[in-house]
């Protein structure tokens, strides 16, 4: 707590990620000036070369735990942070890089790099919450800037930020978009995907591919994930997707999120059994 009016100190860190979520924060544009008045942006290398040491009151972390040094890094970040908030699919669910989980990583590394001996990577890409306590999670690939705005505004107003965890369909229907699943037979993941993006894909006539992760269908205690199994069956039976096509729907940006992981796992097994 250094600067005038005791503005809370904000930090933004990055682990294994593409920087897209940090860019979503920068795309707040004129609201960034208001943010700068409300908080002391003490550490945000993507935005400024001024990088101050902790402790920080609010820390946003982008990226998954993918390399060995990330484990130490996140522990240090946690130790310096009041609130630790994950931003995006990587930090919250392991990200697209979690597609390697369960596969032979050494084989992947050997395929991609000329000198695999220089590459140090963990077997699995995992979310921050598997390593340290997380206070809030913002889903999405990338996060939505309105969600960031809402989150920070609530937090700064002293209100506990709440994120709707229901299916995307509710928002899609409020905007009165055509249901691409029912009317076009597109394998839309909207019914089992968490709201927050503003239904941008269905608005363009495209199927949702689940970048905001699985919706939660039980609240608040005894969490029960979206019924991805039932949607997968529907893709197969009504939309006539092959087993491989079904599992690829759920094996995407949030493949490590349990609801999608379990469903993809079942269909992978079916696909493997078919070939035996």
């Amino acid at each position: 707590m250094t600067s005038q009016k005791q503005r809370p100190r904000l930090a933004v860190f990055k682990l294994a990620s593409c920087d897209g979520c940090q860019l979503s924060i920068l795309s707040l544009e004129e609201d960034l000036l208001l943010l700068d008045q409300a908080v002391d942006i003490a550490y945000f290398p993507e935005a400024s070369s001024r990088m101050e040491d902790g402790p920080y009151d609010i820390t946003l972390v982008e990226g998954s735990i993918s390399a060995p040094e990330h484990i130490e890094q996140i522990k240090n970040i946690r130790a310096q942070s009041g609130l630790l908030v994950t931003i995006g699919a990587c930090a919250t669910a392991g990200g697209i890089q979690a597609l390697r989980n369960g596969a032979d990583v050494a084989d992947y590394v050997a395929t991609v790099y000329a000198h695999p001996e220089y590459i140090q990577t963990l077997k699995d890409s995992t979310p921050i919450s598997e390593h340290v306590k997380v206070d809030f999670e913002l889903w999405g690939c990338p996060i939505d800037k309105e969600q960031v705005r809402h989150f920070l505004s609530d937090l700064l107003a002293g209100v506990e930020p709440r994120f709707p965890e229901h299916s995307l369909c509710m928002e899609c229907k409020r905007q009165e978009h055509l249901c691409v699943l029912v009317a076009k037979g597109e394998p839309c993941l909207g019914p089992v995907t968490r709201t927050g993006c503003g239904a941008i894909c269905p608005a363009m006539g495209r199927a949702c591919y689940g970048c905001f992760g699985p919706a939660e269908v039980s609240f608040p205690a005894g969490r029960e994930h979206a019924n991805a199994d039932a949607l997968a069956s529907r893709f197969s039976e009504a939309l006539h997707l092959s087993n491989d096509e079904v599992l690829r729907r759920f094996k995407g940006i949030n493949s490590h999120a349990s609801a999608f992981k379990e469903t993809a796992g079942k269909w992978q097994k079916m696909e493997e059994n078919k070939h035996e």
Binding site: A38, S153, L178, A183, P191, V217, F219, A221, N227, R234
Partner: protein
């Protein structure tokens, strides 16, 4: 058929006189049209704008539009939108809260509505609007936003002459002929419409058109087409004492069975023309000087919806499906003196999981459900 309402003939070739009459009363005319592959309320300014050029094919969990060369103008039964989005809007600003030197001030959003005439409302949706009237306008507290939209709406219904796999209005006694709550009703024949007035406003407009009275054989032909539509409906909702019957099934194992298929995605409630649940969203600005309070459509399938001071009253999908069906078909009658279902079939057509309300009701109530029908 409806009681001693006079009926007239409006030839398709002279339909534009109807538009002129509506325009002279300052109505913006909306009719269901296909835009970007979806059926939506579209502004029409002449008769040609009413010809849909598409027909819809509705089935359990499936909706398709096909281009058609037929002469039928109203060839689409309905899309996902009912009249609901015109009267109970998906997003409705209510209050803006502003920080002032003295504290805070509240700036209420005043209800405002433009005069809208819809041509092409179906009987199920007109019945649904009457149900929403009881919800939003009945009792001591009226919803001012709904009221403003409702009072500026002129309903020109089109009686259904064909039904889909998912339609069951005949068994709900709401259609296919519009019974009440309309201003003007049309029945489409090959070259003309049979016109009936259902309200003073409707009568005034129709009388100004100086139409010829419909000959008996034409009226009879219209009635036959509607009757054919009614008997062609294969789906029938069980008609026993549903509140009691459903309350008795509170512990049925079937709720868990539905829950294995239900996605809890809320599509059924979003497209339902009578579902009225809503939530309040508060959005403060970054400078913390103002906050906007908006009412949005909510659903009993939203897990948070059942959360009340520390406990979720409906923690599982089985609980939520039971709530939706028991309320819609049963306790709605205790609450509002009518069923909450009009048999439009949207919950079934637009269910991404292909869950059929009528089939589930029969399954819950047991095999004897249909035999007890009135």
């Amino acid at each position: 058929m409806s009681d001693s309402v006079d009926s007239w003939i409006l030839k398709k070739v002279s339909f534009d006189i109807f538009f002129s009459a509506l325009k002279s009363e300052d109505y913006k005319v909306l009719s269901p049209q296909v835009e970007d592959g979806a059926v939506t309320w579209f502004e029409a300014s002449e008769a040609d704008d009413l010809k849909q050029g598409f027909s819809d094919q509705q089935n359990i969990g499936s909706y398709r539009l096909n281009q058609t060369e037929s002469d039928v103008w109203f060839s689409i039964v309905h899309g996902a939108q009912s009249l609901k989005s015109l009267t109970f809007k998906p997003r409705q600003a209510t209050v803006k809260i502003i920080k002032t030197e003295a504290g805070i001030s509240f700036q209420a959003e005043q209800p405002k509505a433009e005069k809208i005439a819809v041509i092409g409302a179906r009987a199920c949706d007109v019945a649904a609007l009457q149900i929403q009237d009881r919800v939003f306008l009945g009792g001591a507290y009226q919803d001012e936003y709904f009221k403003a939209n409702r009072e500026s709406l002129l309903i020109i219904a089109v009686n259904c002459t064909h039904a889909h796999e998912t339609c069951f209005c005949a068994s709900m006694n709401t259609g296919p002929k519009v019974k009440a709550g309309f201003d003007i009703a049309l029945t489409e024949l090959k070259d003309a419409f049979i016109v009936e007035a259902g309200s003073m406003a409707g009568k005034r407009i129709v009388e100004a058109l100086n139409l010829t009275v419909a000959p008996k054989d034409m009226s009879k032909q219209a009635d036959r087409l509607i009757e054919h539509c009614a008997v062609s409906q294969k789906k029938r909702m069980p008609q026993q004492n549903l509140p009691q019957a459903l309350y008795e099934k509170q512990h049925s194992e079937h709720w868990d069975d539905v829950a294995t298929r239900c996605l809890s995605c809320a599509n059924c409630t979003m497209v339902c023309p009578t579902c009225f649940c809503h939530a309040i969203e508060e959005t403060p600005d970054m400078a913390r000087q103002t906050s906007e309070r908006v009412r949005v459509w909510d659903s009993c399938f939203n897990p948070e919806h059942g959360y009340i001071h520390g406990k979720n009253m409906r923690p599982t999908t089985a609980d939520r499906y039971r709530m939706w069906m028991t309320h819609k078909l049963g306790s709605w009658i205790d609450q509002f003196d009518s069923s909450g279902c009009t048999g439009c079939g949207r919950c079934t057509t637009w269910c991404p999981a292909g869950i059929d309300l009528v089939e589930e009701a029969i399954a819950v109530l047991g095999e004897d459900a249909m035999e007890k029908k009135a």
